[in-house]
Symmetry: D2
Subunit: 260 residues, 4 copies
């Protein structure tokens, strides 16, 4: 079949006595010495994090793990109800809804910021760029990613704390400033409080850390998979999925039943 | 529709200014202070880990993150090829194969150990129990979970290191001893080296930490989702999925083609 | 890398002017001439169905398509809520719960029947076999697959109709008889009506058609994916997922909230 | 929690002796009388298809079922390798890659055609609209959906046959004409043969049948789930997944290994 491209991967290899990941001997260099968030850092950057990077990335990930009975958690519980033998399938099902509406929105804010500052000299004032962003979304009648929250007003406590950590760890530069400015300009334009929300904060800080926007959704996916384990564990002992199903079915089809 | 059961979850709740997870204020108590593995600990145990527990659980999780171009990694890359807009779907697809053959096997070893020692007084000798386990699997012609590895011989370096950390952290008790004994007895019975492999070590240590066996597969799922991000990132810049597809298709259907 | 096994697939191949599936020219021999159920038949049996086989397999599949607001349908709707751009992910999520509790149970009844009659001479009386099956499940304290239904009593209307079609189409042989006998013996033993349910009927008829038990779960998966499309379509115009989420979250975490 | 919206679904309901789908008694009105493609029609249109509609929709679906060892089929096989106990998970994994690159492209062509003709009077000439479509895609440097194929040249045999059936069944109107014109205009502009491909034909015909573009991806998902069953069945007896894994791993990591 003519010439073919070589298959090549630089991530990991193993022999009888070693597993090597990104040049690190997994057993000798990593186990017992780094935490799970650091390992995510290695997967993204091919090197160990500094202490600040470790704190920052772990904080970003931890902020995403748990938000209670989200649609994602309900999906995992309802899937577990039907296939308790497939733990992995219940987690995977819960992950599948992390798209453009929930969690995946972190990708939107990171992309907006990274594209806005790509190739822009560091002396260029950010307020003009913020105004352009708001104007462009307004014209296209699009929601601005990373600002506003239905519940957390006037400020999302997770966003505030993450940005505080970012300052401490040296990740509060132009992306974070631009995110703040977008929030301020948009709040004025729309005459309502549109605070930087948690996905906006994560998108901005991830940009400061040089995480490409198209990898950011992955942070949410990792984190939520951790949280979904807690939901399966609770569902095992204190189930709600079956009751949700019964109630929904009864209420939603009541009008169709001749006998009721 | 008669009486219905109350829906109740004790995991998390949020108001305008707080997100509370297992009684912890997410922003104030957790962000910047714990790592992702610790957050997994909270999801499983409803409390913060001790320092030893933190090291141990993070080590278990890190040991699982990356094993190179596994079937799971190939699945994620091939899914990304068709749906690059659905990052979460590529991760979810990769997770779906973590069943009874790969990774999910950790559940098998943890279950075997936990069921064997349930209600057994601590003075009862473990070698009899190990012999029973091996005999039972032999009779039923079943593979013993947690021992043997096609590549890592005579000892799986990850298993060895994890058990070393377990000793340091105080998690090397009767479950670990029983796992060693099962390995030794089985090696004698089958006259070949059947070392404790990484899933055996994780299963034993997880049992020492009091993680229920039916949650153990979740540890592998969390960990692998971290690793799969590295594979998507590599596939973005240095793709192999399309080439695997083309080669496989060409070779596997060659005999059907009239013109070749 | 030493010798490697040849990759070989006999399913399909294509050239510039042809797509050939199982020896059939897709465009010339199949399109416009067979229906979707027949195509499933070709995938399972590598040949076209007879007229009776076409009616029977389509009936089995149609019987599975829709059962209203099942957990599976709720999962699809809740996933669509978060990732409306990934239609395929919403369907896939809904499919993931078709395990050992719902739909996948068809595998259980088919396996029970196929294993019970494997190598059994056709003159051997079935009632002894039925008694053995019931006794074995009773001893092991296991639910007998294929009988009993929480709602459809004394008889599942889908089961009854499918078995009628099976008689008309020549698929009512020893597997169907054995299924009936298991239902009768079990009803006596447990002193309650345990009718052949729809998964029992499908498992028995699929066995008559010589569909291996380990493929039977696939029939349910195909069929439900058809039904899930209807649920996404309805969710688009008449959504319920968000309301289910809000209500569940509010009720289940009410006891945790200090202000309520 | 204040007022809540009513949950309502009009799809199906069941009682002890009936399962009713879209007003049809499943057992009495549908089983044995319609095929699986017709059931898909009911899910989309809430009514039975005419004879022409039945032939047409089944042909669209059948055309999508099987295209050999696609990435999707490889994903299903590799997932089955790790989790053979979760048939449904292997199918779901294969479905997840049906996104914007493969199969899901049918959504693109249907959307392009439906948006182009929305509110356009039937006497308005189509060639101007086709030119606008081509020009717009050219300006935006976007691929035009529904035309061109890497293998099937000068014409995709499935597309040709589907359009023939569409003529016979009365589904060859302005959407189909517009699709042809787009193909012709684009072929001129780009000076190469860009035939209507199978997703273009399906997109156009689905539009003729009044299937909304945002449901079209679902047709591909249903159909491919049928085909994936054939791939699992073949993988059971004539496996290739393990060999693909071993070869890929060996070749792709060869350069990392010190001993080779």
């Amino acid at each position: 079949m003519s010439t073919s491209k070589e298959l090549r991967s630089d991530i990991a290899w193993s022999t009888a006595d070693r597993v090597v990941v990104k040049g690190f001997d997994l057993a000798k260099d990593l186990l017992g010495q780094i935490n799970l968030g650091d390992m995510a850092f290695i997967e993204i950057f091919d090197r160990l994090p500094t202490s600040d990077e470790s704190v920052m990335l772990n904080a970003l990930l931890v902020s995403f793990v748990e938000h209670g009975l989200t649609p994602s958690a309900l999906v995992t519980r309802l899937t577990y109800l039907g296939a308790p033998e497939s733990f992995q399938a219940a987690i995977a099902a819960g992950i599948l809804g992390l798209g453009t509406v929930f969690v995946g929105t972190v990708e939107g804010s990171a992309r907006m910021l990274q594209e806005a500052l790509e190739g822009v000299p560091s002396e260029e004032p950010l307020d003009t760029i913020a105004k352009e962003i708001v104007a462009r979304h307004r014209q296209a009648n699009q929601k601005i990613p990373g600002i506003g929250h239905p519940i957390h007003k006037p400020i999302d406590p997770r966003a505030e704390r993450l940005l505080e950590i970012a300052t401490d760890c040296g990740f509060s530069g132009r992306y974070v400033q631009l995110m703040w400015l977008v929030s301020r300009v948009a709040s004025e334009h729309y005459s309502k409080t549109l605070p930087v929300n948690v996905t906006g904060a994560i998108g901005a800080i991830a940009s400061e850390m040089a995480i490409p926007w198209n990898v950011c959704r992955g942070l949410g996916v990792i984190a939520r998979s951790v949280g979904l384990i807690g939901h399966i564990r609770e569902e095992m002992g204190q189930p709600i999925a079956r009751e949700i199903w019964f109630r929904t079915e009864a209420e939603a089809t009541r009008h169709l039943r001749p006998d009721l």
